[in-house]
Symmetry: C2
Subunit: 341 residues, 2 copies
DNA sequence: GATTATTGCTAATTCGTTTTAGTTAGTTTT
DNA sequence: AAAACTAACTAAAACGAATTAGCAATAATC
């Protein structure tokens, strides 16, 4: 039922046309002319015919024979999230540089979907994968690692599983974010975060606590958990509570929380940073028109993408399984509203 | 030099273990037990062993034999652009539903990169491609079509090339956008756009002109071209000019232009829509914090993605080359600032 | 002038599937 | 009891490339 497309030209067709054996064609095509001393005459003739017939090697045959296809799989948790869209773009570029092709998929933060995607990728014979694990995907990642499939986790790691990862140093990021508010003179600093078991969230929470403790604000520690599903409602509620409790600054553990938080503050006609100071995470172009000064913790996306690909390709090309775990450092960057320009 | 991974179990290993020929194993694995009347006993035994040895069919061999691999290639012009990130996500979902795997790449609006990506995809044996052509890619697309590679253009078509495409009806979108401003009572309506030969831009420009003419505003037609490379500078200049000429509304032909335009108006302390009304294209989350009411032309991304995949898979599965060209309709949607909620 | 190298090529195998064309043994039909 | 069927299986070819082993012919060596 499949469309009948023109029959492909194979190495044999070229050989027949050139009056030589397929072996020679293969030699020439793979730059082994010297090694197998194919005469220049014949080599030129072969190259000529290859061009004439517009020969393209068959990747299936090649991969079947060689057992590799220079393809890696990349599964992020949400491709439509600018942070990951950017990551994906960088990964693709680096992979290309390293001679690999990257296959992308998005799990939409659902472990069942992640499992499906992984299955499909492995069936497509990717040699290794870069995965952003989602909540509840521990077992999936565990089998992946147990099966010795070259794996690099991205953005989040799983504490019990010994494998490669490239994440932000979330503890430090949480610490630095909190510390920066403390140094600005705030005392009643609250944290707004998701109640997730994911390492990135855990790390940020820990960092927040640690900073508060070290600066003698242990009693001020106040963590508000919001829900991903009813983000707006739970954020609104959480912020109302914080404010009623006299909170003067808040660390928002993700970009989505930051956005919701700022929206509600705007609704309440509260000014940032005068009435309440806000520290965000991973700010994107949502803030193009936000008109108060604001600080963010930003991740070195490009470096992280590069590292992830490098680790993976290195595993694929070397003989044994060392493990590399990288925690990148976040940077505090400032958003300046337009009117200040 | 490649990592020595455990030898894969093949159909032969299973056959040996079960004491039957590989043929039977293949029959059972492909659900042809009935058709080739394999005894239930043997079939069960085979299935048992398949599970035991954790056999996974080799995709290369399968594809080599069958000549297909149910994979399509998708090249967008910029994966980090939310509009395309969204498109990609939708395409992936639909493709999966249709039993296809989608391979993604981003050309970053560079025709050389597009050419590279296409080459790599075709070498990976994708059966067809969905491509967002970029400026200067006409020849690349032409050879693609000439080579009979199943192709669907997305977002932009190329007038001289007879092939499938799914685009916005940009002429109508430009018309409707302009008309909506006219109906609000504006007369001095200007268009801000890129000087590109891409069909989507051309269409929007035409639509603008058409609306102006039909409503008797031909003499008011004023088109300002801005440059992609120095977007901020050229936008600033263009807007200053428009305002000095007494313009009271502007249609921005892309989202990037809309953002720049609004930023500059904010800088000039001009109010939207009182001082100058603005009509944007493809608004995203950049406007979360934009505090004036604003209208956009938005595209039915999901439907477009679906159509593109459907057209492609249909070509792949049917016998001959009909051509489908779809122009989707845009919708005007309103952005309401927070304080109005 | 016999032996050994070197040059330039080919045949044949392998990778793991799918599928077509058989084969064998057992069962009906006449 | 010969002829025709059927059920249950197997052998072999094919997909397209890479590679190893080997075979002529010519050239170099002693």
């Amino acid at each position: 039922m499949t469309a009948k497309r023109a029959k492909r030209v194979s190495i044999k067709d070229i050989a027949r046309e050139a009056g030589v054996s397929p072996t020679l064609v293969s030699f020439v095509l793979n730059g082994k002319q010297k090694q197998y001393r194919v005469s220049d005459q014949i080599a030129d003739r072969i190259r000529e015919i290859v061009k004439q017939l517009d020969y393209k090697p068959n990747g299936f045959a090649k991969s079947l024979r060689e057992g590799t296809n220079n393809t890696i799989g990349v599964i992020v948790s949400d491709i439509a999230n600018p942070f990951f869209a950017n990551m994906v773009k960088n990964i693709e570029n680096v992979a290309e540089d390293r001679g690999y092709m990257a296959l992308f998929a998005s799990s939409d933060e659902k472990s069942e979907k992640l499992s499906d995607q992984l299955g499909r990728m492995l069936r497509k014979e990717v040699e290794g994968v870069i995965v952003v694990p989602c909540e509840g995907s521990d077992d999936i990642i565990r089998t992946l690692v147990d099966k010795r499939i070259p794996t690099v986790l991205l953005d989040r790691y799983i504490p019990d599983i010994r494998t490669n990862y490239v994440c932000l140093d979330n503890r430090k990021a949480g610490y630095d974010a909190t510390e920066s508010l403390i140094k600005k003179g705030h005392r009643h600093i609250s944290l707004l975060c998701y109640d997730l078991k994911l390492s990135n969230m855990k790390g940020r929470i820990e960092g927040y606590k640690e900073a508060m403790e070290i600066y003698g604000l242990k009693s001020e520690i106040k963590i508000q958990y919001v829900s991903m599903d009813s983000l707006e409602r739970s954020c609104t509620k959480a912020i109302d509570k914080l404010i009623s409790e006299g909170c003067d600054a808040v660390v928002c553990a993700t970009n989505s929380i930051t956005v919701m938080c700022l929206k509600h503050l705007q609704r309440l006609k509260l000014n940032v940073p005068e009435d309440i100071d806000v520290m965000g995470f991973d700010g994107g172009n949502e803030f193009d028109f936000y008109d108060s000064p604001l600080c963010f913790m930003t991740q070195p996306t490009e470096t992280m993408a590069k590292k992830a690909v490098d680790i993976l390709t290195h595993i694929l090309q070397s003989d044994e399984g060392f493990i590399t775990q990288i925690e990148a450092e976040g940077t505090i960057s400032e958003h300046r509203p337009l009117r200040d320009n």
